[in-house]
Structures are given as structure tokens and as C-alpha cells.
């Protein structure tokens, strides 16, 4: 082996490769390193046989072990549901108003209801359940149809003013634009503003008072405090579904409002409906 070349500076053998006068030193890797590399290759081949790996025209090879992340998730979900089966049964059977907030059942219902709410309800009512114009704020203590767990669950189960559920909550305010003159509407609006605000035109409101008593009080009550039997909102408080300024009120009186909500009982399980009811009730406004 006389043709071995040795670098003078370092005393290390060279590979004999020279580029522009720069020689490549040969500090050989350990043999076991090479075997490790081969071992990883063998492992990789075994892995692609054992596990889903090779892409085919439709799908991929399924692997000898039959492993699937989807199946694993679904098994996890099944196991999780089996673990919670007792709580679910309790939830379906429970008298919702009787569940103490310190109960595990309450905690479970709030957690479950919260995730259903964020998936199904937040599109209209908002992630934080603060609602929007026309979509009630569920955090406050003002309720159109009642704010205890049972009333909330009924609203969720059957929905509002929808055609698909015979038991849906239904309120229908007439569009007074067809019956009242503009001046009359202005007077009624001023009267309604006066119910909750000191800053109003008392004379004009007085003109509206008889109109209110004849046309509106049947549902909204003599003092405008509303009627939950009919879903008539309280007009004397600070909370407005569409807005409490004169312009919005004029629009509301002229054309009326017909907000709708789906009957979630047709889409969600009973335990989900109840969980959402308990969740909404727990947000701060529940009665």
C-alpha cells in the first residue's frame, strides 16, 4: 500500500481527491456507524410494511398492523363516551333546576354544553354568547321566553318562529306601518322611549300613551314590562334586542321583527340540548 497519500500537516491519510490543491483528508467513520445506517434503512422498510405508508392511486397501503390514526381517535372517543355514560344518563334524567353548580354533573354539562355552543350556536349568538343586533345576548338577565334551565332548554329544543317544529316558540307582532300614520308611530315610539328614559318629549309621549294602551299593552303589558308567555320583550328595561334609539324603534314598530332560531331538538341529542341549556344558564344571566 505504498500509494497511500498522507497529508504532511496533520499526518492524516488523504482520499487522494484534490480540488484546486485542496486535499480531502480521510478520517474514516466508525464501522458501526455504517451498520447503524443500514439498520435504520431496514427499520424504515419494515416500518412502511407494518404501517400505512405508500401512496397508491386511491388511498395508501394500509400496513400489516392495520394501524389508523382515525380508528385510534374513534376508539378514544368511544372510550371517552363510555366513561361519561353515567353522567350522560344522569343529565338526561336530572331535574335541571336542581343541579348544584358545585356538582360534577353541572361541571360536565357546562363543559359539554360549551363545546356544543361554540360549534352550533356561536354563529349567531357569538363565541362569548354576547349576541348581536337581532340575536339575544345570553349573558344578561333579560329573557324573552324565560331564563331558567327548563325554559332555555325549551327554546333550544323547539327553536323560535320556525316552520319545522310544531312546538316552536311563536310571537308575531303586527307591522304597524299598515295601521298607524307616521305621526302615530312617532308618538308611540316616544312613549316607549319614555318608559325607560327620562330624556323624552313628554307631550309627544302622552299622545302615544293611548295608542300603546290600545294596541301594544295586550302583549307588552300596561307598563311595557313584557310578557314571557308571548315572547313580548320588556320595553322598560335597559336591554334592547334591536336597539332602543328612536330610529330603530320606528323601524321595529313599522315593520315588526321576526327573528328565527332552528329547532335544535331535531339535530342535537337530548343530553346536548340540556348541556347547552345549563351552559347558557351558567353564563351569568340565568334565573
Amino acid at each position: 500500500m505504498t500509494d497511500k497519500q498522507v497529508d504532511e500537516e496533520t499526518g492524516v491519510e488523504t482520499t487522494g481527491h484534490v480540488w484546486d490543491g485542496i486535499e480531502e483528508l480521510n478520517n474514516p467513520l466508525p464501522r458501526w456507524w455504517l451498520w447503524t445506517l443500514y439498520a435504520t434503512i431496514v427499520w424504515a422498510i419494515g416500518y412502511t410494511i407494518a404501517y400505512p405508508a405508500w401512496p397508491m392511486i386511491s388511498g395508501a397501503t394500509s400496513g400489516l398492523l392495520g394501524y389508523s390514526t382515525r380508528a385510534e381517535v374513534s376508539a378514544d372517543i368511544t372510550a371517552h363516551e363510555a366513561k361519561n355514560a353515567g353522567l350522560v344518563a344522569e343529565l338526561v334524567a336530572a331535574e335541571m333546576t336542581e343541579i348544584s353548580p358545585q356538582d360534577d354533573l353541572h361541571r360536565y354539562a357546562v363543559a359539554r354544553g360549551g363545546s356544543v355552543f361554540r360549534a352550533q350556536c356561536s354563529q349567531c349568538h357569538g363565541q362569548g354568547a354576547a349576541g348581536a343586533k337581532g340575536y339575544p345576548n345570553l349573558l344578561d338577565n333579560d329573557w324573552l321566553w324565560g331564563g331558567d334551565q327548563e325554559a332555555i332548554a325549551y327554546s333550544i329544543r323547539h327553536g323560535i318562529r320556525n316552520e319545522t317544529d310544531f312546538d316552536a316558540r311563536y310571537s308575531e307582532m303586527p307591522a304597524y306601518g299598515e295601521m298607524f300614520s307616521e305621526a302615530e308611530i312617532g308618538a308611540v315610539v316616544e312613549y316607549v322611549v319614555g318608559l325607560s328614559s327620562a330624556e323624552h318629549d313628554a307631550a309627544l309621549a302622552a299622545e302615544g300613551a293611548p295608542l300603546f294602551a290600545d294596541n301594544c299593552a295586550a302583549c307588552h303589558g300596561d307598563a311595557g314590562l313584557g310578557n314571557r308567555e308571548m315572547g313580548a320583550p320588556n320595553l322598560a328595561d335597559a336591554v334592547w334586542l334591536y336597539g332602543g334609539d328612536r330610529e330603530t324603534l320606528t323601524e321595529t314598530v313599522t315593520y315588526a321583527r321576526y327573528g328565527v332560531m332552528p329547532a335544535w331538538g331535531q339535530r342535537l341529542s337530548e343530553e346536548d340540548v340540556r348541556a347547552v341549556a345549563i351552559y347558557v344558564h351558567s353564563l351569568g344571566g340565568g334565573e
Binding site: D3, K4, N26, P28, L29, H106, D237, A238, S282, G284
Partner: protein, 517 residues
């Protein structure tokens, strides 16, 4: 020309037994570190009925780390981060002062390899016997020795892997489960993996782990400088090296030359000046050496003792090498030889590289303290100490009662039907004691604000179970006529008080009024 091989087989290394000061130090360090490793999980520490009684426990399932009287929660992970930074700075400090002292004395790879070599020597004999056995045929004798060695190695490996899992769960209970084969598969798998790695790394890979697998040698080597104390060979003193017969032959000629020189009236010279390393006593034994002999031959008699004892299989006389873990066994070996031939110790020695150059030029080396105490190491020490003091301070100001307040900002506020304004806060209450506690919530602010606890029927007391946290939703309300209801922001402070002990803690937050929109 033929292509040089790209891969080289491992050259087997048969370190010879050595005795000396550093070997003794290494035995001690091995004993202490292994004892700490194996025994720590078995130390008990009473924390009361609801908490584990293991002194050191990494409870991953319950997200707690127990270290004697200290209990770390996940939100206090900065302690762990701080300790890791301290470990990093400590490594900088020790490496800049003493080179790869971690590698040489305390690295588990070094300690376990040392232990495995001890077993090897005990079963198969010292270096020469092992070399013979290595070359021998695989007969009954060789099989018997090898199998006994492997069995002992495997036992140690099993104990090593076994000890590891005890840090993560109650040790006595797990030990019983392991024996009854009822422990969690994770425990068995962990033990199996660690047993295998210990067996392979300590028994067969040894220096290969340091050279090819470990990043520390590169990092540590980059942190050394000319002032760093490291294991080195005094080339000026040792070279030219020569074995006894070479010396004998040259000696006659040298003595002749010396006699002639003395006859010519030239005085004797003693070349040894001072020991460059104070802890290694200079031994000038025997009769004064003849100048000519010293000048002709260095002190190195090329006995290969330093090479034969080296667990890394290198020759320290070749200079600083990436493979050297500075275990100092070559110092012991060489000192032993120097004693025997009546030369001063320290031919191979702990020394700074700048000293080697200074001595070669005939100068006096700097004192060891001036090597160790220099701006760089002082800075590392200061940073390390400051961080440590900070962590200790943080540890002492921790309270057993803690809260965090996160304001719910979707929506920013809620208008109630009577026109009052409500803000919602999620208060996380932490009870770090081993018993249930009742926390009383209250509020302080310059403005009129009212606090309510959700679902508490008007009380402001929240029960927090032992050693756990509770997330409690809290309402703060301003009446319509209060300024806070209208104003954009009002500062407030939420207080929590343990009614039993009177401990208090508080957090500030902001109340949003109508103008915040």
C-alpha cells in the same frame, strides 16, 4: 492508487489498572454519584396525608415536581428553566477553568464505563490478560469469562434502568408492582430501553459514544482557552523520549562528554525549575542528574503507561485531542513511573496550555489561582450566583395561596336589564397546601363596584381542594349611576384570603364601562 477505506472498525481498548491520587478521587466520585442516583428515590419525606411522601418525585401524571420541602407546579416551570440555565453556566465556568472536567469525572458515560471496566478487570484480569483473552479462541474458558462479565454488566444495567423509573412514581409501590409483573408497560419499556443503552454504551461503545455521539466534546473544546487547566504532556521535558536500552547506549557517550565538560571547568546545571502545578509535589529524587543526560534524553522513557491506562485509547503525548476526556488517569500512571525512575512527577500534568509555552521558554508558570480567577470565570461565577440567588429568592417569596385573574373580554361588558354594567372575570385559585381551604374573595377599588361569585348563592367563599386549583367565574357590577358604569376603564384589585390562616394575595385588573366601546 487504491481508495483508502471510508469506514474503520473500532480498535479495542484494554485500559490497564492504575492507582494514584486522581484514581482515588474518581473512585470517590463514582461511589457518591452512583449512590445518589440509586438511593435518592428511596428517601422519604413526610408532606401530610394528601401528598406523596417521596423526597424527590417527578409526578408527571399530576403535574407536580417534589424536591424535599420544595413543590414545583407547572406554572412555576421557570425554576426548572432557571436550573437548566444555571447548569449551562456552571458548565461554562467549569470548562473555562478546568477543561473537560465534567467528561472526565462525572459524566454518566464515564462513570458507568469506569464501573464496567472495573467489572471487566475483576472477571477477566488486567490489561495483558484481557488482550490475551481477546485474541484467544472462543473456547469454554473464554465463553465462561465473557458470559459472567455480560451477566454482571446486565445486572448493573438493569439496576440503572430500574432506578430511573423510581423517580417518576412512588418507589416502594412500583418496586412491588415490578416484581409482581403488574406495573405499567411504560415502566417495563423504559427499564428495557435504559438497560439496553447502559449495557451497550458502557460495555461495548464506550469511547465511541464520546467521540461520535456526544455533542459536548465539541462544545466544551470550543469553550477552552490558553488559561484553561487541562491534562497535558510537558513535551519540553519529556522529549526526546527513549526506552532504557536506548538510554544506556547514549548514556555512556553522554557521561563521557560530561566528564570532559567538567574537566573543562563548566558547572552543573539543574534544569528543573519549579513545579508548575502546586498540588503536585515536586519530587527530585536520587542523585543530581547529569546535564548531558538530561539534555540528550527527555524524562519520557516511552514506557507507554499513559497510553495503556487511557480509556479513550489515545496518546496524550500527541498533544490536545478531541478524544481526551481529561480523566487524569495518565497523570497517575506517569507519576508512578516517574517515582520509580527517580524523576520529578508532573511529566503529564494538569496545566494551562499557556504554561507549557512559558516553561518551554524557560519562564515560570503562572500560579493556578491566577489561571482560575480571571475575568471570564469570575463573570460566569457572578452570573451563576446571581441566577441562583434570584431563584432562591423566588422560592422564598412564593406563597401557598395564589390567584390569577383573566378578564373575559368577549364581550367587554354586559348590560343588565336595570342598566347596570357587569364585567366577567375568570379567577384561578391555587391551594398549594395539603389540605382543603376556603378562600374568601373580595375587591378593592376607588369606585363603587360589587363582586359576586358565580353559583355561590351570594357568598364570596370558594372551597379549593388540597393541592389543586379551581377556576372560579366572578362578576363585578357597577350600578347605572356609578361613574365606573360609564367610564371606559376603572382599576380594581381582586383579593383572596384564606379564612383559616389569614394569608392574602391579590391581583389587579380593569373594569370596562360603557365608554370602552
Amino acid at each position: 492508487m487504491t481508495q483508502a477505506p471510508l469506514y474503520a472498525p473500532r480498535e479495542p481498548i484494554f485500559p490497564r489498572r492504575v492507582s494514584g491520587a486522581f484514581r482515588r478521587l474518581k473512585w470517590w466520585i463514582m461511589g457518591v454519584t452512583l449512590a445518589i442516583y440509586y438511593l435518592t428515590p428511596w428517601i422519604r419525606w413526610d408532606r401530610g396525608p394528601n401528598l406523596p411522601d417521596q423526597a424527590v418525585l417527578v409526578d408527571l401524571a399530576n403535574r407536580r415536581f417534589y424536591f424535599f420541602w420544595i413543590e414545583i407546579w407547572p406554572h412555576e416551570f421557570y425554576f426548572v428553566a432557571g436550573l437548566l440555565i444555571m447548569a449551562g453556566l456552571g458548565l461554562f465556568l467549569f470548562t473555562s477553568a478546568l477543561g473537560r472536567v465534567w467528561c472526565g469525572y462525572t459524566c454518566p458515560q464515564t462513570v458507568w464505563t469506569d464501573l464496567f471496566i472495573l467489572v471487566e478487570r475483576w472477571i477477566e484480569g488486567d490489561r495483558n490478560a484481557r488482550v490475551r483473552l481477546h485474541r484467544a479462541k472462543w473456547d469454554f474458558h473464554k465463553w465462561r469469562l465473557r458470559v459472567s462479565k455480560w451477566v454482571v454488566w446486565l445486572t448493573i444495567s438493569l439496576a440503572t434502568g430500574g432506578a430511573w423509573v423510581f423517580y417518576f412514581t412512588d418507589a416502594p409501590a412500583l418496586a412491588a408492582d415490578l416484581v409482581r409483573l403488574t406495573a405499567h408497560p411504560v415502566a417495563y419499556i423504559t427499564i428495557a430501553v435504559l438497560t439496553l443503552t447502559t449495557f451497550v454504551f458502557g460495555g461495548f461503545m464506550r469511547e465511541q459514544v464520546c467521540i461520535y455521539m456526544c455533542p459536548w466534546p465539541r462544545i466544551q473544546a470550543a469553550m477552552m482557552d490558553p488559561d484553561t487547566i487541562t491534562v497535558a504532556y510537558r513535551e519540553w521535558r519529556g522529549e526526546p523520549r527513549g526506552k532504557g536500552n536506548v538510554r544506556k547506549r547514549d548514556r555512556a557517550a553522554a557521561e563521557k562528554a560530561e566528564r570532559e565538560a567538567q574537566a573543562a571547568g563548566e558547572g552543573q546545571q539543574v534544569r528543573y525549575k519549579a513545579t508548575p502545578y502546586p498540588s503536585m509535589p515536586l519530587q527530585v529524587g536520587g542523585a543530581p542528574k547529569l546535564t548531558a543526560e538530561i539534555n540528550e534524553h527527555g524524562d519520557c522513557i516511552d514506557c507507554m503507561a499513559c497510553v495503556n491506562v487511557c480509556p479513550m485509547g489515545i496518546d496524550i503525548r500527541d498533544g490536545q485531542q478531541m478524544e481526551c476526556i481529561t480523566c487524569a488517569l495518565c497523570i497517575d500512571a506517569c507519576d508512578d513511573v516517574m517515582d520509580k525512575i527517580g524523576k520529578p512527577r508532573g511529566l503529564i500534568d494538569y496545566m494551562a496550555l499557556s504554561d507549557e509555552a512559558a516553561e518551554r521558554a524557560g519562564g515560570v508558570p503562572k500560579s493556578i489561582w491566577r489561571h482560575i480567577f480571571r475575568p471570564r470565570t469570575l463573570l460566569y461565577t457572578a452570573l451563576w450566583a446571581a441566577l441562583g440567588a434570584g431563584l432562591v429568592y423566588a422560592l422564598f417569596i412564593r406563597s401557598d395561596i395564589e390567584l390569577t385573574v383573566s378578564a373575559v373580554r368577549n364581550p367587554t361588558y354586559v348590560m343588565q336589564s336595570d342598566g347596570s354594567i357587569r364585567n366577567i372575570y375568570d379567577v384561578r385559585l391555587r391551594n398549594k397546601l395539603g389540605e382543603d381551604r376556603v378562600f374568601h374573595l373580595s375587591l378593592s377599588s376607588d369606585d363603587l363596584l360589587r363582586i359576586e361569585v358565580q353559583g355561590a348563592d351570594g357568598t364570596l367563599d370558594v372551597n379549593v381542594p388540597a393541592d389543586s386549583t379551581t377556576l372560579q367565574r366572578v362578576y363585578v357590577t357597577a350600578r347605572p349611576q356609578d361613574p365606573a358604569a360609564t367610564r371606559a376603564n376603572t382599576d380594581l384589585r381582586i383579593w383572596v384570603e384564606d379564612k383559616g390562616t389569614g394569608d392574602r394575595a391579590s391581583r389587579t385588573t380593569t373594569f370596562n364601562g360603557k365608554e370602552s366601546e
